[in-house]
């Protein structure tokens, strides 16, 4: 086992894929000399050269569309969109084009494209550099959506994304980049649609994604001190979703909390709640609690920002609410 940061784990997956396969290349804004705004691709220009580590203009719709075109020819491009807020500029190509070519062509075309992007609150970026938009993409048939939370998962899932024959929107969280974790010496691809039970417990299931996974684990530790046993599940991929692991857990614990940094309304937690009520209604001892950001564009001042987005304390409170109903 080796120890890598989440950032290094992303870079490791990209570099290994590019060493193994000349059909893989990366492009995005500031990814070459600068190594990306988050430093993820640092050093890759030196190893792979400017043809395969392509700096692009600030031109999101063209970058994504160009990735689609190259993918249609069987290449496996990885496009970096610097902040997921800027996915909005490329939505037409993602939603109308990448997601639909295979169906519209009656199965003739494949689009093996990976879109890496990141974001998240916690450093006062303001309203246009911190949104969590993963739920939007789960609504689009033809796309896949991954949102890993640990170095091991981000590496194994990025590899699987690159080698998936479908377009994948791959979410990373800014605050996770420096986190360290054990990874196997050899990269082990992680299949889509397999959740990870991050911590076992018997009273409440918390289904958390992205930054809220470490927050939920912290909340579980605090709950333990109060005699509450919390199970934490990270779905890792939102589309496809491993419903079975989630339902098995809720049938065992009889209570469920969902947690993400995105605003609660219309968030992925709503989909999780629907899955749980449909598959485990008779087991539930309390209404499903949803934890997410308050419904507002993110304010700049640290005090407002911290108040608006959820933390471990919010998860703990939600856990306690489900226990109070028993």
């Amino acid at each position: 086992m080796a120890e890598l940061t989440y950032r290094e784990a992303v870079r490791d997956a990209l570099s290994r894929a590019m060493r193994a396969d000349e059909d893989v290349f990366i492009m995005g804004e500031d990814i070459a000399e600068m190594g990306g705004s988050m430093g993820v691709t640092q050093g890759m220009l030196d190893e792979f050269g400017p043809e395969r580590v392509r700096n692009t203009p600030i031109s999101e719709i063209a970058i994504v569309g160009t990735g689609i075109g190259a993918a249609m020819q069987g290449m496996r491009p990885v496009v970096e969109i610097m902040y997921q807020d800027f996915l909005t500029l490329s939505m037409e190509q993602l939603v109308n084009q990448a997601a639909k070519h295979r169906t519209m062509s009656g199965g003739q075309l494949k689009v093996p494209l990976t879109i890496r992007t990141q974001g998240g609150a916690g450093w006062s970026p303001g309203a246009q550099h911190a949104q969590q938009l993963e739920a939007w993409f789960v609504h689009v048939p033809g796309l896949k959506v991954a949102y890993p939370s640990t170095p091991e998962d981000v590496r194994g899932l990025l590899w699987s994304s690159i080698y998936d024959d479908n377009p994948v929107i791959f979410f990373e969280h800014r605050l996770l980049y420096p986190l360290k974790g054990e990874v196997p010496d050899e990269l082990q691809p992680i299949p889509f649609g397999q959740a990870r039970v991050m911590r076992e417990g018997s009273d409440v299931t918390v289904i958390a994604i992205g930054r809220m996974v470490p927050e939920a684990l912290q909340a579980a530790e605090q709950a333990k001190e109060e005699g509450i046993s919390v199970e934490v599940i990270d779905p890792r991929t939102l589309l496809p979703l491993d419903e079975q692991t989630i339902l098995d857990s809720v049938r065992k614990t009889t209570r469920c909390v969902t947690a993400h940094e995105a605003v609660t309304r219309g968030g992925f937690g709503a989909e999780l709640a629907a899955v749980v009520q449909a598959g485990a209604f008779d087991y539930l001892d309390a209404p499903i609690e949803r934890v997410g950001a308050k419904f507002a564009p993110l304010a700049f001042a640290p005090a407002m920002e911290q108040w608006a987005v959820p933390h471990a304390a919010d998860v703990l409170e939600a856990v306690k609410r489900t226990m109070a109903r028993a």
């Binding site: 970058i63 994504v64 569309g65 160009t66 990735g67 062509s105 009656g106 075309l109 494949k110 033809g142």
Partner: protein
Amino acid sequence: MAKVERKPRAEGGLSEDELRDLFREMLLIRRFEEKVEERFRAGELPGFLHVAIGQEAVATGVCAALERDDTIMSTHRAHGHALAKGTHPNAIMAELYGKLEGCSHGYGGSMHLYDLEHGMLGANAVVGGGLPQVTGTALAYRFRKQERVAVAFFGDGATNTGTFHESLNLAQLWKVPALFVLEMNGWAESTPLRQHAPIEDFSRRAVAFGMRSIDVDGQNVEAVYEATREAREHAVGGEGPVFLNVRTYRLVGHYIGDPQVYREKSEIEELRETKDPIELLRARLELSEEDFEQLDTEVTTIVDESVEFAKAGTDPKPEDALKYVYA
């Protein structure tokens, strides 16, 4: 079943015989689209349809100048492009009837014609939507050092989209082997040029990116062919993409059934008399009435057979709607 014979492209200029073949191709496209219009009005075709009557010389001239491995992406007005690139009329007609035998197996329809075998990478129903993908396709050809070009067809309406500007900028920046074929018919759906753009000469938009631009008379198939050959040579030679600024005329409405309240009837009549590319080429070739009738009968038979083929096609199973969501 009648086959449409396709010859390899000619070296240099076009001979009389080759020109005659292109005439036949243009006439096939015309008769095909007239039949599509007739069958749509008869209520046989679902959805809605756009024909390109008047623009046949562009599709025919461009595709005749391409090599078999070259690829095209098209627009909502795509029947002619697909036919000219080599898709069989039966496969297109069956698609319009929503049959499994269609070129997109009933999943696409008129605005989403695909035929990978013949290098048709998709008609696109979002104006400007295919342009960056043509840049990306051409990038893949460059990566793989293939002597191929990727071709985008689009209209003047698309030149006002952000996608157009971003795609051309990137294509020129990276000098990818792409051809951007502007079919300038002067209309963005029902909105005339004077209401949708502050300039008339769209080559200026390409030149602004440092891209080479060639002005082409789109009613003259020879001119379209020659310009495309020249552009192709430039692009595969590694010198970057080329913009073909093609002036053409849409002799019909935006969609089938469009009452065209936005233009005078006399304008359409005048254009039909002076700008019909088929009439112009017929005069250039000095075709006798007999020769014309013979060609017309040939292509009309092919079109009629495509309707029979389509009507006899297989309806998809409803639940197959989910078959190709993921690869």
